[in-house]
């Protein structure tokens, strides 16, 4: 496998009670793969990091998985890190899960909204009996279950 230059850099907010060992364990884990710099600022409760090396693609995943885990465990907000691989720049979103999920969900919400706001969509309502075999006519955008009173 071909090796290329990889750099992951940035900084993140961390919990007040993070311990030196939490940071050192990341350094120990990744030191065999790349050059690791981690700096903990105890006043602002942040960690700045830079991980760089000429490595194979599989090692990039190992590094990013480890940093994702560290950020999940110790980060207090979502964070965007800068990742450069083989001259290509990208963003890596890590940290507090719901912040990351928010950013990822944005695309999905946008798509859903576009469908719901298409002309006439409001009036395309099909009633189905519970448990009945619905006949599929095209793709359903949204399904809603309602309790209805029994009519005699």
């Amino acid at each position: 496998m071909e090796k290329s230059l990889y750099i992951l850099s940035g900084s993140m907010s961390v919990q007040d009670d993070i311990e030196a060992e939490d940071i050192e364990s990341v350094s120990r884990h990744l030191a065999g793969i790349a050059e690791v710099y981690l700096s903990h600022d105890k006043v602002s409760h942040t960690v700045s990091l830079r991980i760089a090396g000429t490595i194979v693609r599989d090692d990039v995943r190992v590094i990013e998985k480890r940093i994702e885990r560290f950020a999940e465990e110790h980060g207090t907000t979502g964070t965007i890190l800068l990742s450069e691989w083989n001259g290509v720049t990208d963003w890596l979103m890590v940290g507090l899960n719901w912040h990351v999920q928010c950013l990822i969900r944005l695309g999905a919400v946008q798509e859903q909204l576009a469908k719901l706001t298409e002309p006439d969509v409001d009036f395309l309502v099909r009633l189905e009996s519970p448990g009945g075999n619905a006949i599929s006519r095209g793709q359903s955008i949204m399904r809603v279950a309602l309790d209805t009173p029994q009519r005699s």
């Binding site: 850099s9 940035g10 900084s11 993140m12 907010s13 710099y37 700096s39 600022d41 006043v43 602002s44 409760h45 942040t46 960690v47 700045s48 990091l49 830079r50 207090t76 907000t77 979502g78 964070t79 965007i80 890190l81 800068l82 963003w91 912040h99 928010c102 950013l103 969900r105 944005l106 919400v109 946008q110 859903q112 909204l113 719901l116 706001t117 409001d122 309502v125 009633l127 949204m142 809603v144 309602l146 209805t148 009173p149």
Partner: protein
């Protein structure tokens, strides 16, 4: 007076950002706020903590200054932690497009909820056709 306001976090900054830029910014918002900052040239980061016993307009001017500064120097979006009168919240800062994404997400959620409420209302009309 006890501290009633704190905002802190780490901002990824552009490669041409210098320590003096952070120092000038810190001086511009200091008093009555207490400002702590550190820059890291290796990771291109500025870490910051601003706190103090601040009136509401002073809190606002700190955040306005921070947003303007972050808009000028940030290399990506960042989420800062804020504590106002003991109440925690988040503040998106930095690269405008990233901040816009976070703000847009809020807006889209509001729009989507409105559409869903309207559909729920219409479905209820099916339940009570005689009214």
């Amino acid at each position: 007076m006890a501290t009633n306001y704190e905002i802190r976090g780490a901002l990824p900054v552009r490669a041409d950002f210098k320590h003096i830029h952070a120092q000038q910014f810190a001086e511009s918002i200091a008093r009555p706020a207490h400002v702590y900052f550190a820059t890291d040239a290796l990771t291109h980061s500025l870490v910051l903590r601003v706190r103090g016993a601040l009136q509401q307009d002073e809190q606002q001017s700190v955040e306005d200054a921070l947003k303007q500064f972050a808009g000028r120097w940030a290399s990506s979006g960042a989420i800062f932690s804020r504590l106002r009168y003991g109440d925690p919240s988040f503040v998106p800062l930095g690269l405008a497009s990233h901040v816009d994404l976070l703000a847009e997400l809020d807006d889209l959620h509001a729009q989507l909820n409105a559409v869903l409420e309207r559909q729920a209302f219409m479905l209820k009309q099916f339940l009570a056709p005689d009214q």
